[in-house]
């Protein structure tokens, strides 16, 4: 049966048998870097195309359909265009910070890939504080955004960056609390432990209504954290042209664009890991034959399926809901999401202590 675990194990055995351990480790690092960059490029192309197709179908349009079969190469053509464009730096901008900002945003997105389990035993770095690492590092991207907004020397950019900062700082709270509810149920911060604890059913089904509420809050909060509609007022086109990346062009603009989509992928994979069992197939309690049947679908397919389902949900939000005003945005977080998630985590703790979950 196809499994990524077997491939990685073969490569590792071969490397360690033919090189000294240090060299083998370095080669492994190089392979991982290459794979991460390849994944980034591929995800950027696929997700942008998916977004445009989903948007088109929701708005009763056809979407891109001229380049390649069904418009498949539209994003490739767009990328080629962006590479060939001039990357302009404005005259009065802070040159160093201006050029640094897109890379910081990209590096943060790359760092976040580390603890994600893409398939069974296919994980870059299984640290014992995986969930904490993700929520800590993901809030770093606001530094890149603030840097871009500040260095551009443009009032729209600065306004967009400030809004983005306010948004990420406030929604980080309820996202953290939603994540915490699963951590409370599992009793571990390690990603592999969390997935292992869901082998007799996903937390979304095992944890009763409180976990469902936590899941919804998580979805809302990560939509806000990735600056997507209906919370996209950091780059509200109609007010701020493009928010913090107004002044960027060419490939550096593409980096911001790419980082946005990579961040969506990452938060959706975290959501899939925490609430939908990551690569764990759909197992229901003690139904042995059913569980066995589900195991025949490769774990990487399960992971990608769940992640793309969540990505589709977030895209669905974007093309359905109108953008919030900044006061509505903060009201939603501080008056609704935060109290609800605080109360919710109490309920989850009660469930965990009493052992009421399945």
């Amino acid at each position: 049966m196809f499994s990524l675990e077997g491939i990685t194990k073969t490569i590792q055995d071969w490397l360690f048998s033919s090189f000294s351990p240090t060299v083998a480790l370095l080669i492994e690092c190089a392979i991982i870097i290459l794979l991460a960059i390849a994944l980034f490029a591929l995800l950027g192309l696929v997700l942008v195309l998916m977004e445009r197709k989903v948007a088109a179908h929701i708005q009763i349009r056809l979407g891109p359909n001229r380049v390649g079969p069904g418009g498949m190469f539209q994003t490739v053509a767009d990328t080629v265009k962006l590479i060939m464009k001039e990357g302009l730096t404005p005259d009065m901008a802070d040159k160093f910070l201006f050029n640094l900002a897109p890379f910081i945003v990209m590096i943060v997105a790359m760092l976040l890939l580390a603890p994600i389990a893409f398939a069974k035993n296919f994980q870059i770095w299984d640290i014992n504080i995986g969930v904490l690492y993700v929520s800590a590092v993901s809030s770093l991207s606001v530094i890149g955004i603030l840097m871009a907004g500040w260095a551009s020397n443009n009032k729209y950019s600065l306004l967009g960056a400030m809004r983005s900062g306010a948004q990420i700082v406030s929604y980080e709270l309820s996202a953290g609390l939603a994540i915490l509810s699963v951590v409370v149920l599992t009793g571990s911060l390690q990603i592999s432990d969390i997935i292992e604890s869901q082998k007799d059913g996903w937390w979304l089904f095992k944890g009763h209504i409180p976990v469902i509420i936590a899941f919804v809050i998580f979805l809302i909060a990560v939509t806000a954290e990735t600056n997507r509609a209906p919370f996209d007022l950091a780059e509200a086109e109609s007010e701020l042209t493009a928010g913090f990346h107004t002044e960027y062009s060419g490939m550096r603009f593409a980096f911001f664009f790419l980082a946005e989509y990579i961040n969506i992928f990452i938060v959706c994979s975290i959501g899939a890991t925490l609430f939908l069992g990551g690569w764990m197939p759909l197992h229901i309690g003690n139904w042995e034959s059913f569980n066995h049947l589900m195991d025949y679908i490769p774990s990487s397919v399960w992971f990608m399926g769940k992640t793309f389902f969540l990505i589709f949900l977030i895209m669905w939000f974007r093309w359905t809901f109108p953008r919030l005003r900044v006061d509505q945005l903060l009201n939603l977080e501080w008056k609704y999401l935060l109290p609800i998630s605080l109360f919710n985590i109490l309920l989850v703790t009660l469930i965990a202590i009493m052992g009421w979950h399945f």
Binding site: V54, I58, Q59, I60, R61, W316, F317, T320, F321
Partner: protein
């Protein structure tokens, strides 16, 4: 009570959002609802909305007769002088003089397709057609004569 209001607020918000998502989800999964026309490719099967207005035409029947009495109501209704009706006087069999249209001139290049002339017409002689491929190389070709040569007003139209 505060808490009751609060829960009602959340409930109403969530249900109204779900209602919107249901609508867009319906459109997403029903591809036959797509209204995009891939225009130059499907020129033969092009579907236009009923309310689409392309140009003013005068309706002629098989006897080359129209319903225009030359009352110039359309010319008066037109906000930007698109229509010019040149009238003449015909002799009726009883020997009376009767006003009739000689040339109905329509300047397509000035027309904004506002439909006011069609609404003003008391006899329903003119209407809006859906042809929109009007581009020509010579501007003069946009000035059209709407009543066909040799046509006359239909019997009984006053």
């Amino acid at each position: 009570m505060f808490l009751k209001e609060y829960i009602k607020d959340v409930y109403n918000g969530v249900t109204s959002l779900l209602k919107g998502m249901r609508k867009t989800g319906y459109y997403f999964f029903h591809t036959k609802e797509i209204i995009t026309e891939q225009y130059p490719d499907n020129r033969d099967t092009l579907k236009l909305a009923e309310r689409f207005r392309g140009e003013v035409v005068m309706l002629h029947d098989e006897n080359n007769e129209h319903a225009c009495t030359g009352c110039t109501a359309c010319e008066l209704a037109c906000p930007n002088g698109t229509i010019k009706v040149i009238t003449k006087f015909d002799m009726t069999p009883e020997g009376k003089k009767k006003k009739a249209v000689d040339t109905f001139i329509y300047h397509l290049e000035l027309c904004t397709m506002c439909n006011l002339c069609v609404e003003a017409c008391p006899t329903g002689a003119i209407s809006m057609a859906q042809n929109f491929e009007h581009s020509v190389y010579d501007r003069n070709k946009l000035t059209k004569r709407l009543n066909k040569p040799g046509s006359k007003v239909r019997e009984g139209v006053e």
